[in-house]
Symmetry: C2
């Protein structure tokens, strides 16, 4: 079980690593696979062990015995569904944690969908809708909508689903996580092409990769591509030889998670800078002369606030797990390591 200590600083990575480690590593019999020793056995076993003078061995056995005894005195954990910790009464959620969990899920969903709807509304009603090469100005409009869809909505849901969905088989969660990110790819590619072409077609042609928004955008896209490729190979392709790659995949989990969250925060920063740059350009053009442009200004400000709120709420949601039981899993694992 040495491989379970994926990080020397467990509190950060524990809940994330736990999801990977929840599948007992190959070759180690699961606690729930073995019947618990009856009380008499446990005590007889301890009594026999007392004869041994080696304290280290004794301590190891004590830990093991304690673990069994502990499982034994909460009989639900021995049911066939014992992996679903919610069924264990000791891990039952209280009202407050349910409220907190629901609040995060509902708020994130509203904000993730809301920011896409707001962007679509802004582009269609205030920026004239969409087009391709025939109108560089309208072609540019594809950029914010597709980037928000790919980098924020799809990626955000992918991250949230991976963290919060633990009631179905872990492989399906992984596949959903991958599929949502895969859906983001065409959006990002199309959005990139749209802005690239519209910069070339406009008169005079605009320079590429000049502003802060484009710098942050390039870094974000590079991080996204790297993260997708590494994630795809580490967590899906390497599953073909599951036993051999267990320790490698375990070690990758906290890195993938931290890097993914950093990537999402970069995406939020990119969106905010892009929004402010566009807004300042529009202010320069129209000078907020009409009532209409003032409303547009408030809509864009609201989009900015929602982006920042999303960056904060997703980073909070990712650190939280839907299973208070991770604490217990953690205890068990650590005791075995020690």
């Amino acid at each position: 079980m040495e491989t379970n200590s994926v990080s020397p600083l467990p509190p950060l990575d524990a809940p994330l690593a736990m999801m990977e480690n929840e599948k007992t590593p190959p070759g180690t019999p699961s606690v729930t696979d073995m019947p618990p020793p009856p009380d008499a056995n446990l005590q007889g076993f301890l009594s026999q062990k007392r004869e041994d003078s080696k304290q280290d061995d004794f301590m190891k056995e004590l830990k093991g015995a304690m673990r069994h005894g502990h499982k034994h005195h909460s009989p639900k954990i021995l049911s066939p569904h014992s992996r679903r910790y919610e069924e264990d009464s000791e891990n039952a959620w209280n009202c407050c944690s349910w409220f907190e969990y629901l609040l995060i899920v509902i708020l994130s969903t509203i904000l993730l969908i809301g920011v896409l709807v707001l962007t679509l509304f802004w582009v269609i009603f205030y920026r004239g809708g969409f087009a391709w090469s025939d109108s560089p100005q309208l072609q540019f409009n594809l950029h914010p909508v597709l980037m928000v869809a790919g980098c924020i909505t799809f990626s955000g849901f992918s991250i949230l689903l991976y963290r919060l969905c633990r009631c179905i088989k872990h492989l399906y969660v992984k596949l959903t996580h991958m599929l949502f990110h895969a859906c983001a790819i065409p959006c990002i590619v199309m959005a990139f092409l749209a802005v690239f072409e519209s910069h070339n077609l406009v008169e005079p042609p605009k320079p590429h990769f000049y502003s802060l928004h484009t710098w942050l955008g390039l870094i974000t896209m590079a991080m996204f591509a790297l993260q997708f490729i590494v994630g795809f190979f580490s967590f899906l392709v390497l599953l073909c030889c599951e036993n051999r790659t267990y320790s490698c995949r375990s070690a990758m989990v906290p890195i993938h998670a931290s890097f993914g969250l950093a990537n999402f925060m970069m995406a939020v920063a990119t969106c905010v800078t892009g929004l402010v740059e566009t807004e300042r350009q529009l202010v320069g053009e129209t000078a907020l002369s009409t009532r209409n442009s003032e409303i547009e200004h408030y809509i864009m400000n609201s989009m900015g606030v929602v982006f920042v709120a999303l960056g904060i709420i997703i980073s909070v949601a990712v650190r939280r797990s839907n299973a208070p039981a991770t604490a217990k899993v953690y205890v068990t694992e650590r005791l075995e390591i020690n």
Copy 2:
């Protein structure tokens, strides 16, 4: 020890809550205050306990015994400095975690000081330096420098110090944390007054609280004030009646920490939006005609990249603790709760 379970979702808050809980709650004798039972005593004690038929009691004692035995076989933990987990060989850091810790500390320090130096350099060499009411344009220049000093450099160091400095007495860490935040207050107030007055004095007067930057800035300042007042009363004033307020203070720790990190991320977003707004305004004025204005543009872009990097690295640093031993404290605490 019921009060130690400050949150139903421990992995997020564990390292933060741990710092508060490290001080053993009043009335509970510390493990290190009691001499460890000798081997014979431990085993005799277990043997006696075997007679008891109540499994729950037995399990409780087993856990306690295990904890003592465990402490006993690592004698360093019994030294007067036993709170310093680094001295426990089991918690010794490996090369990789030291590298990671140093990287975070050095990188954060460079970025926190670097962004302030970069802002000062930009304002002095490209924006004409400082003034008060006699020149609204130069009065405005106080705003970015003081805001970066207060909201980013002082606050960032305060957060970092609180999380990373565990080798001195916890009260001193708290006081330093408070002092750094207290230093941020005059900076923020001066910066706010500078921009407010310069908006009024400029011809024509600029509207207040109109752009996304000002919206985010207002939210950030309100959050900062609330956080400072609540933190000051909860963690310093309430110490006067330490015993009575322990559970209340424990419960406040994760909330204060999450809210503080959210506040820092808001501050970063505010700085980035302010930077982009100013940069777009300057582009509009000078149209990047000269070589000088192009260099200024690159300096401002670099400041933006540093702000975003700081937002990411501080949120990573805060989640990490400098004590791998928190895992062990955690195990001990949880075992007692269960």
